[in-house]
């Protein structure tokens, strides 16, 4: 399977970021502080989701799962299929509104769950099925 791009993630992030800006306004600060915060937040809302969208990638092959996420700090994780322990599909309220879902792939390590966010629901379901069947094919206890 080759590199697949996912769609419509930024919408979720924009809404999420508007919520944070709303919270900032509640702070008792002077008008220029609020103004500066608003400008910063506007820049954040305009740029970061796009940046994030540009960075986020995922890829599944016969033997491994690979994810890339983050924006300022970029994180790339690779887990071999033989070490996959569980595959979770989660959908928050916002994600459901947009018809999206995230997939979390956990391994035996405490440090390395692989998360793929903002997938189209249908794609996510297919991915989960795909991963479970592939992980099931490999022998061993995954530790």
């Amino acid at each position: 399977m080759w590199l697949v791009e996912c769609a419509a993630r930024s919408g979720v992030l924009v809404v999420g970021l508007f919520v944070t800006t709303g919270l900032w306004d509640w702070l008792p600060a002077r008008w220029w502080a609020v103004g500066a915060a608003l400008v910063l937040a506007a820049g954040y809302v305009a740029l970061v989701p796009l940046w994030r969208f540009a960075v986020h990638r995922w890829e599944v092959t016969e033997t491994a799962v690979y994810t890339q996420r983050g924006w300022w700090t970029r994180e790339r994780r690779i887990a071999p299929m033989s070490r996959v322990q569980t595959v979770d599909l989660t959908q928050g309220v916002l994600a459901r509104a947009f018809g999206l879902a995230s997939v979390t792939v956990t391994t035996a390590s405490a440090a390395g769950p692989l998360r793929i966010e903002g997938l189209d629901r249908v794609v996510a379901l297919r991915l989960v099925d795909d991963l479970t069947s592939k992980a099931g094919l490999v022998e061993g206890d995954a530790t």
Binding site: W72, R74, A110
Partner: protein, 488 residues
Amino acid sequence: MTDLGPEPWLRLDPRMLLVHPVREVVRFLPALVGLLVAGGASGAGAWTLLGVVVPVGLGVVRYLTTSYRIAAGRVELRRGLLRRHTLSTPIDRVRTVDLSATLVHRVLGLSTVVLGTGSVSADADERLELDALPQPQAVALRGQLLQAGRSTESASDGTPATALPSRTVARFEPRWLWYAPFTGAGLVAAAALIGALAQGMEMFDLRVALSEEDVSTVTGAVAVTALLTVLVLSAALAVIGYLVLNWGFTLSQEGGAWHVRRGLLTTRETSLDEARVAGVARGEPAALRLARGARLSAIATGLERSRERSILVPPAPAGIVAVAASEVLGTAAPMHAPLRPHGRAAVRRRYTRALTGSVPFVIGTAGAVAAGASVWWLLVAVVAVCVALGLARDRALALGHCLVDGFVVTRSGSLLRQRDALATGHVIGWTFRDSWFQRRVGLLTLEATTAGGRGRVGVPDVPAAEAIELADACVPGLVSQFTAPSRS
């Protein structure tokens, strides 16, 4: 659960009837004292009796309701009176066996058995704990469990594990006590003691009246004496703590497992299945390094986040630690091989980061001097910069990685320097992390994830190409399949 086989359920040792009540009485001691006082005042002795009967009763109930058995390849533990709780785990999932005995246990010849299964759950209810069995029976159980786990795992091995003789790799020597004050544990203990004292003084209203005059009479000599007292106190506490924890320490290999035995009052015996030891971590905090000491802990499944149990060698001479490490890993190379330095960019990054930390000091003191403070305040800034430079130099020297004899070896840190060696077979994934600054100079933080220990072994600021090369060399074919399409 009950149809697994005719294997009978076994009880814990009846002598626990003595241990449980004693422990319960201790736990109920505040209530007991209260009852005694109240009883004495009102003249009612019956309440006092109740205070003794309830804990004893609890102990009896616990004894009667706890039972365990080993049947059909599973270990099962049943406990609880009102809430029955049955735990069951396959024997081949038992990674570590821990025997410990408190003073009371030792007097009665008992020990507690705790089985580590590599489960991530930290719930106390989910712990497989047998408290307690007679000492010989506990040892026999340990042998049985560890051997059963191995025989199902690698039946092709052929050699019976019991044929291997017991071999001691490291043993406690009184001169190790020299390293105790360099561990920082004493400082923590001293701080705790001082805190407790202060609280006690407050409780009894022994407030020391400090007036302005008193403060002005505190001269340098007094301050130095106070500092010395704290130092001596913390050193003494560290030595005592070290003695209590590590007295009689031995690290030995027996029957395909590593056994760590230690403790003055409460003895602990941790057994690690050899196949489960993924690697070792050698910690060299700055102070300990000055004293030419080091400590060693295991990276193994079944020991998640419990530092106490993963210790292989407590703070000890570096030579002994090196010998123990090479014995455990089966090769001396990971601890001695020269590491590959990370290049100029990584070194420069160490200096920038350390100097950034000292910037607030410089700005602060410069501002103060400009506002009319004594010029001597600038000394603080100079000291801060010097410390930062020293740290940066040390950290830059520490950075390194290599792949030798099937182990990924990484080293980093200055105040808490650590050299980790992880067998490539236990690497279950890779994480590459790079911030914008790191990307600009082509570095990234490389982490190998594993099932044991903290779950990862990592080193910062590896040149990107080298990191990918290393990851690819460790687990062939895993990384390269992703680099080809997205990088070409």
